[in-house]
Symmetry: C2
Subunit: 242 residues, 2 copies
Amino acid sequence: MTEKRRDIHNSEMPALCQACEARHHGMCGSLTPDELTQLNKIASRKEVSAGTALVADSEAVTHYSNILSGVVKLTKILSDGRQQIVGLQFAPDFLGRPFKTSSETNAESATTVRLCSFPRSAVDRMIEDSPSLEHRLLQQTLNELDEARGWMVTLGRKTAAEKVASFLYLIATHINPESDAVDGVSFELPLTRADIADFLGLTIETVSRQMTKLRKDGVVEIENNRHVTVPDLERLAHRASI
Amino acid sequence: MTEKRRDIHNSEMPALCQACEARHHGMCGSLTPDELTQLNKIASRKEVSAGTALVADSEAVTHYSNILSGVVKLTKILSDGRQQIVGLQFAPDFLGRPFKTSSETNAESATTVRLCSFPRSAVDRMIEDSPSLEHRLLQQTLNELDEARGWMVTLGRKTAAEKVASFLYLIATHINPESDAVDGVSFELPLTRADIADFLGLTIETVSRQMTKLRKDGVVEIENNRHVTVPDLERLAHRASI
DNA sequence: CGCTTCGTTGAAACACGTCAATAAGCGTGG
DNA sequence: CCACGCTTATTGACGTGTTTCAACGAAGCG
């Protein structure tokens, strides 16, 4: 894979992709300049506001997308309305479920999200022709599987306090892809209390109480409900039993 | 993929693989007879009893395996000993985590398990050479991801009663790969009450109480603690909120 | 036959959910 | 600019589902 990348001359790459690749390391990294140029012709970039349905339940999936910025939540609902967020996706994740036209999973923007979208058929064809693209896809899928299984421990075996700490830790370590700061991490929560509750399998009241407790214990600082500062990531991780 | 299969003449296939492929539809189906013959030379078949560690936490993974029969549980533990089963694997699933030598996930046989194992390096090489094998691997991984996310709803949003019903439904529909029987499904539970509790994020006492309730309500019949009969799968599914 | 493991059942404790009231943030319009 | 409604979040009192603790029964095994 690394060798493959090496012979990509930036000058041959579409300008839009250059800017994108410079910041992230998404799937397009495994495409040749030719493929990239080709894909770029049929790609469409768009920006959607928070709360937009990107993949509606059981609706035919017509597009795949790369997330350029923002956070997307993947949700499932039971027939009586109970909802569970089964995954969060950050830039530069690939959004879509190859080899299956319908999905039982909904995708919705949690924040303002910028996307680079492609018609499904074109990408499916490209996957067939490009083993390295499929390889990249397999790696992302394996990572998502690891993350999903890790979260299952949180859902099944952690207390409410540990769940909320786990969530904050997850965001603190994922929201800013490049930052490796150990101290003084600060960010805007991409999710409302209701979303956090759906992610953790709790009620909004319990989430609120545990957030208050973390704040009173000095583990986090919270301003305007959404802006969070974590003075000591290790301390937060400890609260999350990580 | 289907076309690829069509030109495999059974006469060219190693005898051991023939018997295996006849019953299941595992990964080896995407290999050519040549590759199969080659792989068969380095494959070792073995049978392990229930409770055998197959992949120990953070230990280097030296082998991949196909599950020929039995059930394997994938577990994760927190530092204080709390345990969560994050997946069950049935024949003919592939066991192992490609592209990563260490895993945070343990694999342990839940029942007697028959395996067909291969040295890691040989399979890794084969994956590089055979796009169709990688394709098959991607598909299993996507399926496992779907299953994991489906189970997250069970863990996060279902009551104890629904969780136990969901578990019984999962087993009833997975334990016997070929059976499509709607009525009178009968099977041996592959997991102890402790395992079931670890899978559902409950205690063994709660599992026991809910099993008793399902039995008293006539949703399932239970003999000798392990043998379960489900007279009406739809009724069980309803209890599971599926 | 005793020993251990596995499963069931009951009573009490508690973590989290439910219900309800209040406050804070935010856009809209008079 | 303030009034108004709406959504989002906090906090309290109370109820309940699940856990905890404990005792007991059943099954497997030397």
